[in-house]
């Protein structure tokens, strides 16, 4: 049986953010901006983790994924090293609809900057003027900055704490751009759901068409489970086969945020346990035996 893919390289971009390059020639060849993959750190017990494709190199046959260690599963993925095999399925979802809109504003928040990059690139290649707004909680979490700066016509950087760029939320410069004449022809937003919700609320009064790329809870990524369902303009849609991009003004953001919290408590518990296990492992590799109490609770 075949079907696992080898990690070619791994880079730690910041405290919590990793970039891995995975050998997957068919996916690299087939993928388009806006699509995602599902990865598993092993074939037996791993959760299926949807990750948006940050970049691909068809000549080399590789795809690049960037992820933040937000829970137990992404932590375990981060422990994989070059040469290790992981499960990777894709490319999934519909590609971003790319055309010559005119002026496009692309807003990325935190880890969302990674999947924003291929969209910026595709919009640019289609002949658009592209303004990028990069936002993050703090300077350390700003990623893909060189890549984005190299292709964007304008690049605005904001951080919540002012550690880099403007001290502001992404919605502030977004509102300024929307107030201009002529206003942007299209806006694209990828990032934390709450950020996308407020981006949608910002562009709506100006009538700027806005696309948001949703990352909901998902199992198979092929339409089979319906766990990713979200209400779009009052109709239930599946993010995996109908999305992942939707008209941000039609998304039921509160409903989506609510569903994202389904396993919050269990995820927190698993995350804590994972940290404990990692600590134990560290102690063990240092030659110390783990304290009995900690061993007990790792079961």
């Amino acid at each position: 049986m075949h079907g696992t893919h080898t990690i070619l390289s791994k880079t730690r971009l910041s405290e919590e953010v990793y970039r891995i390059e995975v050998l997957a020639p068919l996916v690299a060849q087939q993928r388009k901006a806006g699509q995602f993959v599902i990865v598993m750190y092993d074939e037996d017990y791993s959760e299926r983790i949807p990750l948006t494709i940050a970049d691909a190199d068809p000549a080399k046959g590789s795809v690049t994924l960037i992820f933040q260690t937000v829970g137990a599963s992404t932590h375990k993925l981060a422990l994989k090293e070059p040469g290790d095999a992981i499960v990777l399925l894709g490319p999934l979802g519909n590609p971003t609809h790319i055309e010559r809109f005119g002026w496009a504003v692309c807003v990325g928040g935190g880890i969302g900057l990674a999947p924003l990059y291929p969209i910026v690139k595709a919009l640019k290649e289609a002949g658009n003027r592209v303004t990028v707004i990069s936002g993050a909680r703090t300077k350390d979490l700003l990623i893909m900055q060189d890549e984005l700066a190299a292709i964007a016509d304008e690049h605005i950087v904001v951080t919540d704490d002012g550690s880099f760029g403007r001290k502001a939320l992404v919605t502030e410069p977004l509102k300024e751009l929307c107030s201009m004449t002529p206003k942007p022809d299209i806006a694209v937003t990828i990032g934390p759901p709450i950020m996308m919700k407020f981006c949608a609320a910002t562009t709506k009064p100006f009538g700027v068409k806005t696309l948001a790329s949703l990352n909901t809870i998902m199992i198979d990524g092929t339409g089979m489970c319906g766990g990713c369902r979200v209400s779009i303009g009052g109709k239930t849609k599946f993010v995996c086969v109908d999305g992942p991009e939707f008209d941000a003004h039609l998304v039921d953001w509160d409903g989506m945020l609510m569903r994202l919290g389904t396993y919050k408590e269990m995820e927190k518990e698993a995350h804590d346990r994972c940290h404990l296990e990692m600590q134990i492992e560290k102690l063990e590799t240092q030659g110390d035996s783990a304290p009995p109490a900690a061993q007990e609770s790792s079961k």
Partner: protein, 492 residues
């Protein structure tokens, strides 16, 4: 398996010896009661994931086989979608030639350990059984399914599973899309002829609904795995984590990759919801999602599996089929305090296998017949808090001949629940048709095929739920087999 210590087994041995002391007339055969299959105790099994039914002992199987009248016209064979020679294999069991019995079955059915467990025998082979008819009850028919299962298990546990013969290689390549019952069956029959076969599967394990849908306690995964291993020993290639349509377009398989034919067996796989208010509240799941988390992703192994499962106390399962039974019994095993199945009609109309319904009742699942929800209510955090349920009564028969459920006005009741599992069926998965423009589908999205399973595209065949709508494992296998015949003919 060793159940020899069980008193019921000794009893069967004694009975068999007594029976065989004198010539057995048909009248005597009819007097042998149907042999019950030993099962795990209900209170024990609702706490574990192990298989519920334990299977016959050799003596029990032989005793049950003695009930068969060996009818010349063999009505049972006509009731089997893959036309297993039922009197033939039962005759071998009677003689104690269990491996010979396995050989008879495997002429037409390569997956007897699976079919013996999941086929709806009471509406297939056992329905027209002469013994059942004479005794006026399908439940008194010869227990063909249990015998099939016994034979398959005997063959496997005795290490006697034979790898089917493969003809000299032809160098022609065939692609199978989907490693479920239809795809696996088609793969075997095409491979037998010596063609190169590659199965493309989107999940990380082969088996389709047999691994993501049907729970461990009804169909142990090791059985599915060993069937897949037989295919591997035949030289069938598995490409897992490969989504035809996305990873590679279907037409590229033929036009660029050199496949001479493609079989599409992608299954039903797009869950239906009730379309009632509140269905997106946290705690409402499709049965597909609930079961995939629990089965394929092993969410029941808390602490070890990365995939979480919703902590439930009061669960409502909507639907009356096997998937509803599986979901309800799984919820119970995952710790729910009360699990109720809400079904719009009555027990008689339930499409679930009789054995599954009996097992569910024994385990403490409560059935609310003639009930259907009208809306889901949530709490301030958007979590399921209650169901508004409407009562029905049976009216005049509808087109299907079943009495139509008619809602009773003003009978709405508010009942507290924290979890709702929707098991009312699937629509066809649009992925292949969306990414393959020339492929014709009907208004339900099912792929249109001719009598030889051929689609609107040359060299592309389809079968199973993607053609039939949600059906059964055995019907899917029947279609996979038919498609294989057609493929083998065009490759001659």
């Amino acid at each position: 398996m060793s159940h020899k210590e069980e008193p019921v087994m000794e009893h069967a041995e004694l009975e068999l010896a007594a029976l065989r002391a004198a010539p057995i007339t048909p009248k005597i055969r009819m007097r042998i009661p149907p042999q019950d299959m030993p099962a795990q105790n209900p209170s024990a099994r609702r706490e574990n994931m192990q298989e519920v039914a334990l299977g016959y002992s050799p003596a029990q199987a032989m005793l049950e086989a003695e009930r068969c009248l060996q009818c010349k016209n063999a009505p049972c064979i006509a009731g089997c979608p893959v036309r297993v020679d039922i009197p033939g294999f039962i005759g071998k069991i009677k003689d104690g030639d269990f491996l010979g019995a396995a050989k008879v079955i495997k002429k037409t059915n390569l997956l007897p350990s699976i079919c013996g467990r999941v086929c709806p025998q009471e509406s297939q082979c056992q329905a027209p059984c002469t013994v059942g008819k004479a005794l006026k009850g399908v439940e008194r028919a010869v227990q063909i399914g249990r015998l099939e299962r016994f034979v398959a298990d005997y063959e496997r546990t005795n290490g006697a599973v034979e790898v089917p013969h493969v003809a000299p290689i032809t160098g022609k390549k065939v692609a199978i899309v989907g490693a479920g019952p239809a795809g696996l069956t088609c793969a075997v029959d095409v491979r037998r002829e010596g063609h190169d076969v590659t199965i493309f599967e989107a999940f990380h394990k082969p088996g389709g609904v047999m691994v993501y849908g049907i729970p461990e306690f009804r169909l142990p995964k090791v059985l599915v795995q060993s069937e897949a291993e037989v295919l591997e020993s035949m030289g069938v290639d598995f490409e897992l984590n490969f989504l035809v349509g996305r990873t590679r377009p279907l037409t590229s398989l033929i036009e660029q990759d050199g496949y001479a034919a493609v079989f599409v067996g992608t299954g039903a796989g797009l869950p239906k919801f009730m379309e009632i208010p509140g269905e997106n509240y946290v705690g409402v799941f499709s049965a597909n999602e609930y079961l995939t988390r629990a089965n394929l992703l092993k969410a029941y192994m808390k602490g070890k599996a990365g995939t979480p499962i919703y902590p439930s106390r009061r669960v409502a399962v909507l639907g009356g089929g096997n998937v509803a039974m599986d979901s309800a019994r799984m919820a119970l095993r995952l710790g729910a305090e009360e699990v109720r199945v809400l079904y719009r009609r009555t027990r008689e109309e339930m499409p679930a296998r009789a054995e599954e319904v009996e097992h569910a009742i024994e385990e403490g699942i409560i059935f609310d017949f003639l009930k259907s929800p009208t809306r889901v209510l949530g709490d301030e955090k958007g979590r399921v808090a209650a169901l508004e349920v409407l009562s029905y009564e049976l009216g005049e028969p509808d087109d299907s001949g079943r009495r139509r459920p008619v809602p009773i006005r003003g009978s709405e009741q508010m009942l507290p629940y924290d979890t709702v599992i929707v098991a009312i069926g699937n629509e066809s998965n649009p992925l292949i048709s969306q990414t393959t423009p020339r492929l014709q589908v009907d208004r339900h999205g099912h792929i249109i095929v001719d009598e030889r399973q051929k689609t609107s595209i040359e060299r592309v065949y389809a079968g199973g739920d993607i053609v039939l709508g949600a059906a059964t494992v055995i019907l899917a296998m029947g279609e996979g087999r038919k498609a294989a015949q057609a493929i083998n003919e065009i490759l001659q």
